[in-house]
Amino acid sequence: RGGMALSESVAGATTFERRVLRSAGEHHYLRVRLELPDGGARPNVAQFKQLVVSALRELHGEAGAALPVDVLTYEEKTLSALLRVVSSGLVKLWSALTLLGFYQNRRCAFRVLQTSPFLLALAGNSRELVLD
């Protein structure tokens, strides 16, 4: 998956090897929050995963629903979750979450807070920084 380039110096005095890795990583991580303004029952983990898969199915069909998506963490109180998806499927997942409008006939919205190919980068969020 990563591209590697090998190059040698022209004069032949010293040979060096240069490796270029083009892919950022196998998976992309998304921190999302589901907004359900009406104070109804909150979905649990299984229902949340089913919601994500059904959003993919609605927009991208069966091939989209088959995309390997994992819910790494889920907090029911705040309805926020960490999702992991294969890098090639990031656009599909993100667009499916953006265009989702209803959960069990209740209006809802997905807010994508952070996204990164590295999980560690999701630990800090400069947008939520509160300056005194």
């Binding site: 609605e58 993100w94 667009s95 953006t98 265009l99 409008g101 809802c108 807010r111 996204t115 947008r127």
Partner: protein, 247 residues
């Protein structure tokens, strides 16, 4: 509503008035000044400036006689920052792209386009600095509209090659708004490249705002011409310098 847009990450919002000419006796009303609606605007996340709230007028035209309104100098039209036009037929689309004095041409996303885009009017619109607008909120509400949105957007992309596109929401509730990066991702779905998709949300919108400002302010151009020098001096100057002084 503005507090919500501020928390989602936008720095400028335009309030839209839609005028549909099919109904009788439509008059262009003065736009509600933003300062009346929001006494104090919240500050954009990350900077110290306040959110800009602009007013915008959308004219739904299905008849060439409706365009006369734009040509007439109705005082109320000049009060709007951005003017958009929603043509319903191919002829009107051609007129809107080539002669009408507007900033945006709305592309219908809620139903199958009754006409196909052709390259000449689209290219002329791009040269004139007019942007094509796509809405994404209908795609959130209904799955049939999703199909129409994507198919109309893709056919537009094939003709205009991704230039001069603005993606906006026609949101009526704060829940129907999506963050700017989400909308840029939708642009990727429509067939734009990554840079074009981001531009569709940021650069092109700002260009539309500036286009509206120039439309409001500029009415004519004054340029000065230097008087030509005497004959022997003209020969002494090299050719390029001559051209500069005569411009």
């Amino acid at each position: 509503f503005t507090v919500f847009t501020f928390s989602v990450g936008y720095s400028a919002v335009a309030l839209n008035h839609v005028i549909d000419f099919k109904e009788k006796k439509q008059e262009i009303v003065k736009p509600v000044s933003p300062s009346e609606l929001f006494p104090s605007l919240p500050i954009v996340q990350g900077t110290s400036k306040r959110i800009k709230v602009l007013t915008r007028l959308t004219l739904v035209i299905s008849d060439p006689s409706h365009c006369n309104l734009l040509r007439s100098t109705s005082p109320n039209i000049r009060l709007y920052d951005i003017i958009a036009v929603f043509p319903k037929t191919e002829k009107l689309f051609h007129i809107a792209c080539t002669t009408l004095d507007v900033d945006l041409v709305c592309i219908n996303v809620t139903e199958k386009l009754p006409f196909y885009f052709r390259r000449p009017p689209v290219n002329m619109a791009i040269d004139r600095g007019i942007y094509f607008e796509l809405l994404y909120t209908p795609a959130i509400k209904d799955s049939t509209m999703r199909r129409y949105t994507i198919s109309n957007a893709i056919s537009l992309m094939q003709i205009c090659k991704g230039k001069n596109i603005v993606i906006s929401s026609a949101a009526e509730r704060p829940l129907e708004l999506r963050g700017p990066y989400d909308v840029a991702n939708l642009g990727l779905l429509f067939g734009l490249s990554e840079g074009e998709a981001k531009a569709a949300v940021s650069t092109n919108c700002r260009a539309t705002m500036l286009h509206g400002e120039t439309r409001k302010s500029a009415c004519g151009i004054v340029y000065t011409v230097k008087k030509p020098r005497k004959a022997e001096e003209e020969e002494a100057l090299p050719a390029c310098k001559k051209a500069k002084t005569q411009a």
